[in-house]
Amino acid sequence: MKLKLLFIAILLIVSCAKKNKTAEVSAVTQQEIIENETISDDFQLEVYDYAGLEPFLNKKDDKIYVVNFWATWCAPCVKELPYFEKLNSEYKNQNVEVVLVSLDFPHLYDKKLKPFIKENNLVSKVIALDDADMNTWIPKVDESWSGSIPATVIYKNSERRFYEQSFNYEELETEVKQFIK
């Protein structure tokens, strides 16, 4: 938590510094930055190809990871995001971490994805997967995945389950609880 705050503070400082340098910053934008304490306009989105994503699917640190594949253009994904956010906050002290893997189109990262993350104040870690060779990486996530989203992987060390479906909060909780022993 402290780390996160520090990170946000750095982001804010960096973004303010940048804006001041260009001397384009108006009173209004400055105020906006102050009001919106969580994420600055210039926050960096982590973007990976599948090789870069793979470590997020294979950590062996006794933590329970809930990795959700979603996109801002996917209505059922957007619908279930609040449940993942809730899970992330309510099960944080039970060693559960949610990772939201966005499959948004790269040309819309700035226009759609970043504003979405900001507007909805997403707290869970969001990373973007940009890898066009889907036929290669989809089966690596799970052999049974047809490719439709939403899809979710829940794992703890080498214990792992895959879900090509939508969740409500109760269902998500039930699944995660099976990993908490």
């Binding site: 969580t38 253009w73 996917c74 209505a75 059922p76 957007v78 619908k79 995001l81 609040p82 956010e85 809730k86 906050s89 499959l103 189109f105 790269p106 507007e119 909805n120 104040n121 997403l122 707290v123 066009a132 060779d133 889907m134 036929n135 989809i138 089966p139 995945w145 047809s146 490719g147 439709s148 989203i149 939403p150 090509e164 479906q165 939508s166 969740f167 409500n168 269902e171």
Partner: protein, 205 residues
């Protein structure tokens, strides 16, 4: 905490999917080598279309697609190109819109007509009104392609999956899965890559 409440209130939950629906994995459907049953679905011109109507066809390129999925939209021009290239060779494209239009009003018949006109679709754009055809195929998303070969036994499923290996950029495509499958069938050869995976929008039930 405040944040999750905010999101919760921001996202108004209109559709309640029953627990049953959510828990039942989408499975089944045709496997490679299966005979695809014919269908009779309404086209955007109001007429019913079946595979049996195509007396001279050697096979079909069936695509489950829709107006509202960005992945499907990215592939519209390539589906059109497939029809232009392969309909004269005996493999016409038949597009089927599988979504529940109560969930996705943007896929309703008037919208389908509009989209087909805008894009100048040269292939039928059918609606799976009762949502009974796509489960038989085992389609789970849009776009989802099936290449069928017409034989004496019936229309045999020869390919299931994506159109090609790059949805983002048609010019960066390295492997044209559907074209390779149809070319092989036209040459009387076996399809080498019979199944591929791709991300798509889940079909709305």
């Amino acid at each position: 905490m405040k944040k999750s409440v905010k999101i919760l209130s921001a996202v108004v939950l209109l559709v309640l999917v029953s627990a049953f629906n959510v828990n039942t994995p989408i499975s089944g459907g045709y496997q490679i080598g299966d005979i695809a049953e014919d269908f009779s679905l309404k086209n955007i011109d109001g007429k019913m279309v079946s595979m049996a109507d195509y007396k001279d066809a050697k096979g079909f390129i069936i695509t489950f697609t829709c107006n509202t999925c960005p992945f499907a939209v990215m592939y519209e021009d390539r589906i059109q190109a497939l029809n232009e290239k392969y309909a004269p060779k005996g493999y016409p494209v038949i597009a089927i819109m599988p979504n529940n239009t109560d969930v996705k009003p943007g896929d309703a018949m008037p919208e389908m007509k509009k989209r087909a006109k805008e894009k100048g679709f040269t292939f039928p754009y059918l609606m799976d009104e009762e949502q009974k055809v796509y489960p038989k195929f085992g389609a789970t998303k849009t776009p989802h392609m099936y290449v069928l070969e017409k034989t004496k036994k019936g229309n045999v499923v020869q390919y299931i999956g994506a159109i090609d290996d790059n949805h983002k950029d048609a010019s960066a495509v390295k492997v044209k899965y559907v074209e390779n499958a149809v070319d092989a069938l036209l040459n009387g050869e076996e399809v080498t890559q019979k199944e591929t995976k791709a991300i798509g929008c889940s079909i709305k039930v």
